[in-house]
Each structure stands twice: as C-alpha cells, then as structure tokens.
C-alpha cells in the first residue's frame, strides 16, 4: 500500500513537472498571454512582470510553484483573476455529475446490449455491432448536435442547457456515454462468447443451467476482465469528451474551463486541471487493481 502511495505521488510530481515544462517551452511568453489582445507598451509590461513575479529565475518560479502546490495553493488564474482552487471547486461538481452519468449510461447500455446479443443469431449481432461501430466512429460533437436537434429542438423533451435538474443531464450524458457503450459493448460480447465456448460452460449446461443464468452468473465474470482493463481509456475519453460536450450543451464544468485556459494559455488553470486528471487516473487505477481481485480471485495479492 505504501509502495502504491509512493508511485501515485511520483506520477503526480511527474504530471506537475511535465506540464510546467511543456508550457514553458511553448512559443510566446507569459507576459504576452497576460497582455492578450490588449494594449501593449513597455510600461504596462513592466507593471505586469512585477505583479506576477515573472522577473525571478525560472528555477525559483518552478520551486515556488511546487511549494505552493504542496500547500494546496494552485495560484491565481491569469485570465479570470480568481484563485484557481476556487474556480475548480465550483466546476468539479457538474463535471463529476456528467461523467458519472455518462459512465453509468455507457456501462449499462453496453451490458444490456452484450447480454441480449451474445451468442444470438447473426442478424441481431450484426445490427448491434453496426450500431456500436457508428457510435464509436461518429465524432461526439456530431452525436451531440443530432441528439439536440431531435430531442430538444424538435420534440422539446429535454432542455438544451444548464446543469439544473436531471432532465438537463440526459442528452449530454447520452452524447458522452454512447461512444463508450460502443467500444465496451463489443469487448463484452466478445468476452462473453469466448467464455461460453469454455469447457465450464458445457459443464454448467449439462447440469441443466439455463442459457440466461449461465451468461449472467458465470460467463459475465470472465468477460469483465478485458472490459475492466479498458477503464483507463474510458476515463480519458470521458475527461476529454467533457470539453466538447460542456461547450455544446452550455454546461458548466472542468472541460470548458480547461478549453478556455488552454487557448488563453492560462498556465495555473491548465496545470491544475492536468494535476486533477492525474489524481483521477491514479485513484482509478488503484480501484481497478482492487476490482481485478474481486472479479477474479485467482489474481492474488
């Protein structure tokens, strides 16, 4: 456990440092960003340098950045003129809601479709497979626009924007969850079908177990291992997808904050978002390890 914690911290440090270095190496300097499209004179530059402490050596700036991180101080946003911690605190909630809802949608759709179609006739499988392929290959932006035009603009079932109430969550969660359902569904069905050809399946059938019970109680567990391995990809897709989904649906959240920060090169915000994503990855990979053991007792500690 201590070893895990150590690895986790190392990953966080690496994420913090590499994002810092990457932004440092990117073209243009911080003062240019702070000035933006605005008025640019030597005296304004001098004032900005003094205000943000940009005249210190880079190593000192880096170390003071790490030191402040250790104290939970993410600094101030260049663009938004507010504490980064405060910005993130207000934006984490909506993103968490969206990603959890999308993950739940994706996973349950995948499980339902896989259970319903595994080992069934060619037509059913073929149709499911085609739908999955479409949902994976169509860009999320387009899925979102189509969902909006049909269910919001034409039928008026769901509101287009806002994070208020569960109704407003339906379409964005679908837009974000469908590609996940597509990939996960295919992997799950493949796993189920392989499991159903195993000798234990024959034994179970011989003991008189119905096909449905066999799939749900025995085969699913085998099919889960490859699916769970995908969870890392899954987290990345969700976090990346929020950027598009949140802007499209006019939702608050980390995605649109990250987008604004990256285009405006708002370093403190970008780095805080990178760190937060790293934390999420570390947490999820730890949970996965535990999950493997629960699913397959043969993987011992």
């Amino acid at each position: 456990m201590i070893k895990r914690l150590g690895t986790g911290l190392a990953v966080l440090w690496a994420a913090a440092t590499s994002s810092y270095v990457a932004l440092l190496l990117a073209p243009g300097d911080t003062i240019d960003i702070l000035i933006g499209n605005g008025v640019d004179t030597p005296e304004i530059r001098a004032k900005i340098v003094a205000e943000w402490g940009l005249d210190r050596p880079e190593v000192v700036q880096y170390l003071s950045y790490l030191w402040r991180l250790l104290h939970g101080d993410f600094g101030r946003s260049y663009q938004l003129q507010r504490g980064v911690g405060e910005i993130l605190a207000t934006q984490v909630g909506p993103t968490l809601q969206l990603t959890l809802a999308a993950a739940a949608t994706g996973v349950s759709l995948a499980v339902i479709i896989a259970l319903a179609t595994a080992g069934r006739g060619r037509w059913l499988r073929g149709t499911a497979s085609a739908v999955e392929l479409v949902s994976v290959s169509v860009p999320p932006f387009l899925i979102g626009i189509v969902l909006l035009s049909v269910f919001s603009f034409t039928f008026g079932w769901f509101p287009v924007s806002g994070a208020s109430g569960p109704q407003a969550l339906v379409l964005p969660a679908l837009a974000l969850g469908l590609p996940i359902a597509g990939v996960l569904g295919q992997v799950l069905r493949g796993g189920l079908e392989r499991a159903l050809e195993q000798p234990f399946a024959v034994t179970a059938r011989a003991r008189g177990l119905t096909e449905r019970a066999l799939v749900a109680r025995h085969a699913l567990r085998h099919a889960l291992i490859p699916a769970v391995t995908l969870a890392g990809w899954f987290t990345g897709t969700l976090l990346g997808g929020t950027v598009i989904t949140e802007a499209l649906f006019g939702r608050p959240g980390l995605g649109q904050v990250a987008m604004q920060a990256v285009t405006g090169r708002d370093m403190p915000v970008v780095m805080a978002v990178v760190l937060l994503s790293a934390v999420v990855y570390v947490a999820i990979s730890t949970l996965l390890d535990l999950a493997y053991r629960a699913i397959d007792p043969r993987i011992g500690g």
Partner: protein, 530 residues
C-alpha cells in the same frame, strides 16, 4: 424547475415587502449569448461582447443618446473649462447602490482613483487615464476632475463600461475585486444574484431604479423582474434554442441562419462602432514595403464577391479604416479601390514581380511573392478564417500572390508579431470613439502599430484630434488621417464593418443596440410580452 421554485418564492416575498415592485408586472426572460465574461468588474472590462451585461448591473456617469451625442446619466450636467483641463460634474442626488449606500461625489472620486492602484488595471491607467491628474469632492453632489493635458476622449471614457460606478464600500470589501461578482455592486436597473461559470448569469429587477438616461425607452424600474443569460458558444445550438422556444432572445446569429430565423422571428442588426475589420500591411519589409504591391493586393480582391459568398449578403463592405457607423467616417473613400485585376497585375509587373514559378505564383529575384497572416485562434470570429481562405484563393487566381493564412495559439501569434514574421495583420476594434482605436493602431509608437508605418503628419494629426473636444474639428482631422492611410499610402485594406445581430420571439419588445458601440443594449427597456 426545483431550483427555480425557491427563487420565485423569495421574489414573491420581496415583492410583498416592497410596494414599488408591485407596480411593474412580473416577467422573466432568457437570453442566450455567445461570450462568457472573463470578469464581472466593469473596471476590468475587456470584451465588447459583454457590454450588455455591464450596463444591467452598473450605470456610468454619462450616456450616449440615439444620435451618439453625450447625455446625462448619473451626472446631471457637466462643464468643461476653456482650457479643457477641468471638468465639473453635477451628480444626481437620488441614486443608491444595490448595497444601500448612497451614490455621491466621494464615490465618483473613489472609482476614478481605484484605477491608479498599482496592479489593478495597468492598461486603463496608462491609456484612457493617462491625462488624469486628480478628482476633488466639491460638495456631495459636485465633483471636479483635473487633467494634466486636454483629452478629447475623456467624456467617451466616462460613458464607457469602465465608468460603471461601483459602490466604494464593495470596492473595499469584495472578496475577488478583479473578478467582481455578487459582492461588487453598482446602481444599475438589475441586481446580479447568480453567476454559474460556463452556464448562466441571472439578475433580478432593482425596484428602486429611477435614474435611467433620458434617451432610454422609459423611466422607473425595468420591465423584466427576472433575467437570465445563458452561455451557448455554439451558434447552431443558440439558433435551435430560440426556434424551439427554450430561450426568447439570442445574439450572434450566423449569416447562414439569418434567412431561416427571419421567417418566424424578429431579427435586427447594427454596425459596430470603432474600426472596420481590415488587413494591415506590414510596411517594414518586402514585399509590402513597396506601395505598388500593397495597392496590387487590394486590387486583386473582389471584396463584394468574397463577402457575398462568405456572409451571404449580410456583411457591409468597408471603405475606410474607420467604421461606417462612426461620425468620423469619410464616405468620399467609397469605391476608390479594389477589384481591378488588370491594375493589380500591371502594378505587380511594374514592381518587378514579373516571372512566375511552376505553381503560378509571381517571383522576383528567385523569391516567391508570399505574404503571411498569423492570427491567434481565440480571437478568430465571424468566419474570418473562411474569409481569409476566400481571399487567398482570389489573390492566387487573379494576381499570382501566395497568401498564407495561419491560425495558431496566442503565444505563437505573439511571437510572430514580435519577431516581425508576418506581412498582414488582421484586426478590428470596437471602441465607441474610433479615435481611441486609431491612437493605438496608426501612430509611429502606437501600442498596436502592426504596420510598422511611420508618418509624422499622421502622428501630429492624431495628437491634435485627441486634444480637442470640438467634434467638427476632429472630423476634419480624422478625414485627413483616413485619406492619408487608405488612399495616399495604402497601408490598410478595409474589408467589412463588423456588426451584431439580435433575434427574438416576436412577443419580445424593446431590444436594441447601444448607440455608442453598436453592440446589443442592456435589458432595461426589454418587455417579454405575452
């Protein structure tokens, strides 16, 4: 809905305790806007697109009437001394801030002096308030402002969002002064009560409001009791939200959707003030150090055809660096350049770009006639990327010019500008007084002089025009400036006049544009109707 209910209940309760609010009917409106504010503090304001939000919550000292002339607002009257150095303002004595404190001369002084706090707003302190010396409280309703030198743009500053009067008490106590928010209050017709970044901003009516400027459509409290602005950056989504009735008003209607919207909705558009969207030629190195090449580039483009295809007839062609909506616009420049392919080729031949390479581009001394434009992605709007592609195709076809369009991140764009690695700079500015924009773009030492062009006459004229408040004289001087840079020296290629659009359900009344800036007006006169 669940979250809205408590707000309604609260509002009803508030109405019960304040009889003045009962006179106006309860009405709510939802308005989808494209741009999120990066700050809610008017003194930090930097986005023309959010001007409409500023003046919901804040009032300025002066306003601009429908003809663009200054008129009283929180200042009842003003006097300027003959030497142009002393401004004396008589203030209204019946104005209170949303936090209950009284608006008076001390508040005006505190607001002006706030800009001088180091690190607060260096840009405004250095440009708009460069001439500001001191503000003195003469009596509770009289304030005297002294300038170091005459400044023809000072009244414009006092009518701008920067002059939105903030309660001095909240200037001291606001948790996030530079960002503003619920605890940074003004005197405006609406009171900010909720801001959700990335989603919406919500106001309720200020029931005590009775100090609208004379040109407003009515006096007394606003018609709307509740007002929500939703941030919908995607144009197609804004249009869908309007046509499906989820919002009542949208701004920023894409050219491709205008005809569809016009069928069932009220649509209006207005030209922005400030400068036209123009290509500025970098005159510091080849090929645009040669005036013939600059003129040839302008002649090689059929601007009308390009605008018609990119904006489907919704764009207004520009003929001067000064926008058509400005009182200083010189109409004599119309139809003086552009679209003459034969002339373009003759000019380029004359300038020595006679040979062609295998790709069909002109060549001189083994170098291709290449011009580059570098723009920063966050500031590319209005389909200007598509516009650049259309111009790119035209100049290649008609004159053999290799126009390279690069859209990059802000740092890379800034680097190209700093290192002089560009030939064309694309820009428009929305300043309500175009003089402010010209002062940044045209003088030899202008803060955003990207033409790197220097003409002592232009420098002198601009300084003269800035030092006087005599509008007739300023018009005469700016006419000279426009003729010098557009016709005589051809350092700028004006393309179109930026505009704003509003579309609304037909039941909504009282929408309009700010006469000073040409951007959508605040919601004070708006009625949701039934």
């Amino acid at each position: 809905m669940k979250r809205i209910l408590p707000v309604l209940v609260l509002t009803l309760a508030a109405c019960g305790s304040q009889p003045s609010a009962q006179q106006a009917q309860a009405a709510t409106l939802t308005w989808a806007i494209e741009t999120q504010p990066i700050t809610l503090n008017p003194q930090q304001w930097a986005q023309n697109k959010v001007r409409l939000l500023v003046f919901n919550q804040f009032d300025a000292l002066l306003s601009r009437g429908r003809d663009g002339a200054f008129e009283p607002w929180l200042a009842k009257s003003w006097k300027v001394s003959d030497d142009g150095l002393t401004y004396t303002f008589e203030l209204r004595d019946d104005v209170t801030f949303h936090d209950g404190t009284k608006f008076d001369a001390a508040a005006v002084k505190a607001n002006l002096e706030q800009f001088l706090v180091p690190g607060y707003n260096a840009a405004v302190a250095a440009i708009q308030l460069a001439a500001f010396d001191k503000a003195e409280v003469v009596s509770p309703t009289t304030v005297k402002v002294t300038l170091k030198k005459p400044d023809g743009l000072f009244l414009d500053f006092l009518a701008s969002p920067y002059s939105g009067q903030v309660s001095p008490k909240s200037l001291k106590s606001a948790k996030n002064l530079k960002f503003g928010g619920l605890d940074l209050v003004g005197t405006g017709p609406f009171i900010l009560d909720r801001y959700v970044q990335g989603q919406e901003i919500h106001y309720h009516r200020n029931p005590a409001y009775k100090w609208a400027p004379p040109s407003a459509g009515h006096q007394g409290p606003a018609y709307l009791s509740e007002l929500t602005y939703r941030f919908l950056p995607e144009a197609a989504v804004r249009v869908g939200a309007l046509t499906s009735g989820q919002v009542q008003v949208i701004e920023g209607v894409p050219a491709t959707e205008v005809n569809l919207i016009k069928k069932d909705h009220a649509f209006q558009t207005a030209l922005n003030s400030g400068t036209s969207f123009s290509y500025y030629f970098n005159t510091s190195h080849a090929p645009f150090d040669d005036q013939r090449v600059r003129q040839a580039f302008r002649e090689a483009v059929n601007v009308d055809a390009v605008l018609a295809s990119v904006y489907q007839g919704t764009a207004t062609r520009a003929w001067s660096v000064v926008g058509k909506a400005s009182p200083f616009y010189d109409p004599s420049l119309e139809h003086t350049f552009g679209g003459d392919t034969a002339k373009a080729n003759a000019l380029l031949d004359e300038a020595g770009w006679t040979r062609r390479d295998s790709a069909g581009f002109r060549v001189k001394d083994g170098k291709r006639l290449t011009v580059r434009s570098v723009s920063s992605a966050p500031f590319v709007r209005d389909r200007r990327d598509i516009l650049a592609q259309a111009i790119q195709a035209q100049v290649k076809q008609t004159a053999g010019i290799d126009f390279q369009v690069k859209i990059v991140d802000q740092g890379t764009a800034q680097q190209a500008l700093d290192e002089n690695q560009y030939e064309i700079f694309e820009n428009s500015r929305g300043d309500s007084d175009v003089g402010a924009a010209l002062n940044l773009i045209l003088p030899s030492k202008g803060a955003i002089n990207r033409t790197r062009f220097s003409d002592p006459r232009v420098d002198k004229w601009l300084a003269q025009a800035s030092a006087t408040a005599d509008q007739a004289l300023r018009k005469e001087i700016y006419t000279r400036v426009q003729r010098a840079v557009v016709t005589e020296k051809a350092i700028v290629f004006p393309i179109y006049v930026p505009a704003d659009q509003l579309a609304a359900q037909k039941s909504v009344h009282g929408l309009g544009f700010d006469p000073g800036s040409g951007t959508p007006r605040n919601a004070y006169d708006v009625q949701a109707g039934t």
